[in-house]
């Protein structure tokens, strides 16, 4: 089996990630900006005050898709709700298009919200309105005349591929179709920003892919900035140009998605990536994988990411020769993030502590990252 060679052959033209900024156009104006934002929910009877967010500083460049990933309770829902003023920051500022959202009065905030679309995990469609009437709702609210509403809703239903379902009620639509209605509704007032609150978490993988592709499309065609929150690394990988990892109410890591995938620095990021890799492992390995070594004879499963010029190096054979350890390849694949390919290889090596740390050291000396996914 010569997977490393195949892998190297598949990615020979990789740009070095450290040189990646050259490929990114001049820094775009940031359309959403968090400036040292904090959010504390005051104490209530029997509950202590909750510090949902602390010291959040984050920029979403115009036209970008930025994904915020975190576990439930990490504060990501609060974060996204600060952007359209459903929550007010207790410290710092949230700017959308240079407007300080927290400082607006109710009337001004309502007006501002029309330029910020939002889609939801559970779609939040009105059960007693047809697809057409659901998309029309934000326009009715904005006081758009009837005739114009019709002229604007139909192209939107077209855009999301639901022209033939215009008179259907949500109960007659599949989950994916409901989210398409949700997206059309969010776009009705021609917003500059789209907020996506776990929009694919209630959908199956295939439908998720379709919805993410649609988000990509509206992002590109309408130059719409997208801020999405998710707990799935696969979603980030599929659509996000940039990613911020949130844990315990703080952003622990952020950057270009490619960078973060290739060189995760924070343990939380690493565990999200490990979970993503583990999902695609052969079932035989995945079933046996345990977080801790059980005895000295365990094999450690490592995830090694190949980027840049190292993609061509015979890293594994070098490590194997250098340390005289057996390196078994479990899986090798070329992955792609935001159009840039990078290689991921999963190997098993002897799991005793000295050998394992020697292998990791050797890999890291070659400027690659290696993480332990578990033991088999």
């Amino acid at each position: 089996m010569n997977a490393p060679l195949t892998l190297a052959a598949a990615v020979p033209t990789l740009p070095d990630p450290s040189a990646a900024p050259a490929a990114i156009p001049a820094p775009a104006r940031s359309i959403i900006r968090f400036e040292r934002v904090a959010k504390t929910f005051p104490a209530r009877s029997g509950h202590a005050a909750v510090h949902a967010l602390s010291d959040i500083t984050l920029d979403v460049p115009e036209g970008a898709i930025l994904g915020v990933i975190g576990r439930s309770g990490a504060g990501k829902s609060t974060l996204i709700r600060l952007v359209n003023g459903l929550e007010k920051p207790s410290g710092g500022r949230v700017l959308v298009d240079d407007v300080d959202i927290g400082a607006l009065d109710e009337a001004a905030l309502r007006k501002e919200r029309r330029s910020i679309g939002m889609i939801f995990q559970h779609f939040n469609l009105l059960a007693r309105r047809t697809a057409f009437d659901n998309v029309a709702l934000p326009l009715e609210i904005a006081g758009v005349p009837r005739a114009e509403i019709k002229a604007r809703v139909e192209p939107l239903l077209d855009l999301v591929g639901l022209s033939d379902k215009r008179d259907r009620y949500p109960a007659e639509l599949s989950g994916g179709q409901k989210q398409r209605v949700g997206i059309a509704r969010a776009l009705a007032t021609r917003p500059r920003v789209l907020l996506s609150d776990e929009a694919t978490s209630a959908l199956d993988p295939e439908t998720t892919e379709q919805i993410l592709a649609l988000l990509r499309r509206v992002n590109a065609e309408l130059n719409l900035t997208v801020l999405l929150i998710t707990h799935e690394m696969a979603v980030i990988k599929a659509v996000a140009d940039k990613v911020a990892v949130i844990d315990g109410g703080r952003i622990v890591e952020d950057g270009a998605t490619y960078e973060v995938f290739a060189r995760p620095r924070h343990p939380t990021t690493r565990s999200f990536l490990a979970a993503l890799t583990a999902k695609s492992l052969p079932r035989r390995v995945a079933e046996q994988l345990s977080a801790e070594p059980r005895d000295g004879r365990d094999q450690a499963v490592l995830r090694i990411v190949f980027t840049g010029q190292h993609a061509q190096d015979p890293v594994l054979s070098r490590v194997s020769r250098l340390l005289s350890v057996d390196v078994n390849i479990i899986q090798a694949q070329v992955d792609e993030i935001a159009g840039t390919p990078f290689g991921v290889i999963v190997v098993s090596v002897p799991g005793d502590a000295p050998t394992l740390s020697a292998v990791i050291n050797a890999v890291e000396r070659l400027n690659l990252t290696a993480e332990v996914l578990g033991y088999v």
């Binding site: 359209n84 459903l86 905030l109 309502r110 007006k111 501002e112 919200r113 029309r114 910020i116 939002m118 939801f120 559970h122 939040n124 009105l126 059960a127 007693r128 309105r129 709702l137 934000p138 009715e140 609210i141 904005a142 009620y169 949500p170 109960a171 007659e172 509704r185 007032t189 907020l195």
Partner: protein
């Protein structure tokens, strides 16, 4: 005229039953309509005015809640006599079918308010959040989201209220309100005419069946949740 009772009841009694049915329907319809007129906005307010809600006014919410509870815990027959001065003020008299509408309305309004409150609270809060995110004002949220989405539940609530009013209306005989209940008591019970009592009960059963069936059907037609 064709005798629908097949000779079981004398024609004079049949006429009495027809009159009483009309009185009952009149009292229930008018007090139901007036009760809804008062109870609907009250119910919407109760459902949207706790702390952190659309029209947050926790103090007023609690006070109104107390008044509603007090009105609902007063036995109807006591309410009828207790508010006679008020009835006289509103209707000009405290006796008769039209006067009976006053206590019926006073009893129906808080009952309907609580039913409406429950129906509105059933609406998914996610829809309210979505509407807020669209830039809807609290009034728009009530008009375009809460009331339309709760309409099937509101229909069932008003059906229940109408059936309850049919029962209440039997008690207004105490103030000369007339109606089926009054007829049943005066003829069926006090004059020992069990056949009149049976006829009255039968008509009431038919009325309740009709109202409930109609309400159920309408609610089902309005409900778009259970298709395929």
């Amino acid at each position: 005229m064709f005798d629908i009772t097949f000779g079981l009841l004398p024609p004079t009694i049949v006429d009495l039953i027809i009159d009483a049915t009309q009185q009952t329907l009149y009292m229930v319809a008018v007090s139901g309509a007036l009760g809804t007129l008062i109870g609907l906005p009250l119910g919407v307010f109760l459902a949207t005015s706790r702390a952190g809600e659309l029209f947050a006014a926790p103090w007023l919410n609690q006070s109104l809640g107390l008044v509603v509870n007090a009105a609902r815990s007063t036995p109807f027959i006591i309410l009828v006599v207790a508010i006679i001065p008020f009835t006289r003020l509103v209707a000009g008299t405290s006796i008769g079918t039209s006067a009976a509408i006053v206590p019926l309305t006073v009893a129906a309004a808080p009952f309907i308010a609580r039913l409406i409150e429950a129906a509105i609270r059933e609406v998914d809060q996610g829809l309210v959040e979505a509407a807020r995110a669209m830039g809807a004002s609290p009034i728009q949220i009530v008009a375009k989201v809460l009331l339309p989405e709760a309409l099937p539940a509101i229909t069932l609530a008003l059906t229940l209220a109408a059936v309850s009013l049919l029962g209440y209306s039997a008690m207004v005989g105490a103030v000369g309100g007339g109606g089926l209940g009054d007829l049943g008591i005066r003829f069926g019970y006090q004059r020992f005419m069990p056949e009149v009592m049976a006829a009255v009960v039968l008509v009431l059963i038919l009325l309740v069946q009709a109202v409930q069936t109609l309400g159920d059907r309408l609610a089902r037609r309005l409900d778009k949740r259970s298709r395929g």
